[in-house]
Symmetry: C2
Subunit: 358 residues, 2 copies
Amino acid sequence: MGEDAGRGLECQKIMDGKGNNGNSSQKAIPSCCLKARASAAELEAKCHSTVVSGWFSESQSSSDKAGKMVYFNNPMWPGEAHSLKVESILYKASSDYQEVLVFESSSYGKVLVLDGIVQLTEKDECAYQEMITHLPLCSIPSPKTVLVVGGGDGGVLAEISRHSSVELIDICEIDRMVIEVSKKFFPELAAGFEDPRVCLHVGDAVEFLRNVPEGKYDVIIVDSSDPVGPAQELVEKPFFDTLARALRPGGVLCNMAESMWLHTHLIDDMISICREIFKGSVHYAWASVPTYPSGVIGFLICSTEGPAVDFLNPINPIEKLEGAHQHKRELRYYNSQMHKAAFSLPSFLKREVRLLCD
Amino acid sequence: MGEDAGRGLECQKIMDGKGNNGNSSQKAIPSCCLKARASAAELEAKCHSTVVSGWFSESQSSSDKAGKMVYFNNPMWPGEAHSLKVESILYKASSDYQEVLVFESSSYGKVLVLDGIVQLTEKDECAYQEMITHLPLCSIPSPKTVLVVGGGDGGVLAEISRHSSVELIDICEIDRMVIEVSKKFFPELAAGFEDPRVCLHVGDAVEFLRNVPEGKYDVIIVDSSDPVGPAQELVEKPFFDTLARALRPGGVLCNMAESMWLHTHLIDDMISICREIFKGSVHYAWASVPTYPSGVIGFLICSTEGPAVDFLNPINPIEKLEGAHQHKRELRYYNSQMHKAAFSLPSFLKREVRLLCD
C-alpha cells in the first residue's frame, strides 16, 4: 500500500469505473456521488458511492444496463440500514478481494468498511474483539496454540496477547491490504501483529487448514466477513470439519455467528452442523455492537471431544490472569460477568433455533 | 381520532405548514418530500418529511429563515441514524403534544414514531416491553398495585396482565392520540387496556403523582419518551422524589434509562439522583432492541427503604408464575436467565458511571 494510504479525497476510477468529466471550469460532481447531487450541501469533501449528503450508509449501488443508478441494501439485512455521519474519507481502494474504505465518523471514531459493510469502528470494536477472543481463551486452562482465521485488522491478536500462556499465534488472512490499512489507520489494533508469538500467513484459510497437522491448536477463532461472496464456504460443513480436525481433543472454536434478531435460520444451520461435528459442547453467545446490523453479534462456541469445557463458567477468568490488565489497551467490554451473561438467550431464539432450547 | 385514522397518504398541511402547489396539470411533489425529489424513484406513495426514497430515517428536518430545508438528526444521538424501508404510511397526524406517524416497514412490521423517533416496531417491541415490566414485577413477591407513567401504546399493560397477583393498574398517559392510534394499529399491545384492572388517566404524570396517596404503589414503571422537550422533567430530581413518595416501603421503580453506549453522562446523573432518593437499592440493566439508537436500551431499577429487594435473583420468577405463559402473547424476550444477565455491565460502563463500579 505505502504511498497510496490516505491519499486524499479524489474519486478513484477504480471505485466505479468512471472518471470526472474533466470540465475544470465548473466544479464537477464525481460520478460516485450522483446520488448526492441533489440532496447534499456538503458533498465536496466526502466522495464515495456509499456516502450521501455526508452520511455513510450500509448499502450497495450499481448501474443497471441503461446506466441508471440502482440502490439496494445488503441482502443479509434487507429493509434496514445504519448510517454514520462522515467527517472525512481517509482511504479507499480496491484490493484483489474487496473494496476497502476508511473514514473518520463524527461519533464512532475511525471506521473500516469492506465491500460497503462496516467491519469495525473505534468506539465499539472492543465488544466484538474482546468477546470473540476471551470467550474461548478464558474457557480452557493455559491455552498455548491459537489460530485466527481472518482478523486482518489485528484486533483479535491484540486481545490474545493479554494471555501469557499462549506460545504460538498463527493468523491466516486472505487480504494483505486489510493488514496494511489497519497498520496505518488502526495502529492500536494492528499492534497485535507486533507480538513476537504471531506468525502471519497471507492466503486462503481453507487451503491453509488443509496443511495443518491434526490437533495442532488449543483454540481457533474465526473472525471472518459475512457469508456472502468469498466467505460463503466458511459457514459450510467441510470447513467446520477442517477446523475440528485442526483442534486438539478438548480444543475450542469460536466463530462469528451473525445476529440473533436477523439470522435465526443461518444460526440454526450452523448449530446443526457443529452439533454433528463437535462432540464436546456447542453454545451460542452474543454481544451488543451498535454498528453491526440490529446492534448485536453472535458467537458460535464449540469444543471437540476430550477434556470437558464449561463455557458458561470460565475456568481461566480474566480477572485472575496475570498481565491481562497491564496491557496498552484497557478492557472495555469483556469481564467474567459479561462472559456468563452472553450465553443467556431471549425466548424467541430458543424457540426458533431448535437446538438452543433448554 | 376516529375518522382520521389511516386516512391515506396525502401530505397534510399540518405536517410542515406547506400545501401542494395546486398545479394539477403536473404531478406535484409534496413539500415534505423535497429531499426525495431528486434521489427517489418511488416517492409517490410514501410521503412524509422523514421518508426519503422510500426509507424512514430518524432525523429531523425544518426550514431555515430563507426557506431552505435543513437536516439534522436527533441531538440525543448525533452522527448516527437507523433507517427502515417503508412499505406504506398508515397514519400521520399532530396531536397536542407531538407528531404521530405509523408505517408498515418491510422488515420490522408496523412502526410507531413520535416526533420522528421510533417508539416501537412489531418485530422488536417484545424486548423493551417485557423487560421494563417483568424486571420490577418479578423482583417482589405478589405485586398488587402498579402505576405506569406513559406507555400509551398499552404494551406494558399487556405484559403486566400476566401477573395474576396484581389488583390495580393505574396508567397516566398524557397523549390520548397515542392510545387511539395503538388501538387501531397495534391491537395486540392496546389489548392491555381491556384488562379490567386497568384505570386510565389521561393527563400529566407530574400533576397526577401530586395527588397520589403516599405509599400507594408496589411498582411504578416509567415508560416515557426521551428526555428532550416535554419529557425533560421526567429525569429530574423532583420527579424521582414524587415517584419514591408514591411507592410503599420496599416498593420498586423501573425507569427507561437510555443507551449505555451513548448516554453515560445521563445515566450517571440519573443514578446519582436515585442513589440519594431510593435508600433500598439502585441498579442498571439493559436489553437489546435493534431499532433503538445503538441497538440497546437501559433500565434504572430502584427500591425504596423497606423489605430488601434482590433485583439480580428474581424472587417471583416468571417460569413459576401461574398463568404468565397462558397469555395471548408469547413471551419472546424475557426469561429469568435474561433477567439476571441484564445486570451484567460492560467494563467501560462501570468505569464511566462511577456509581456502577463493583
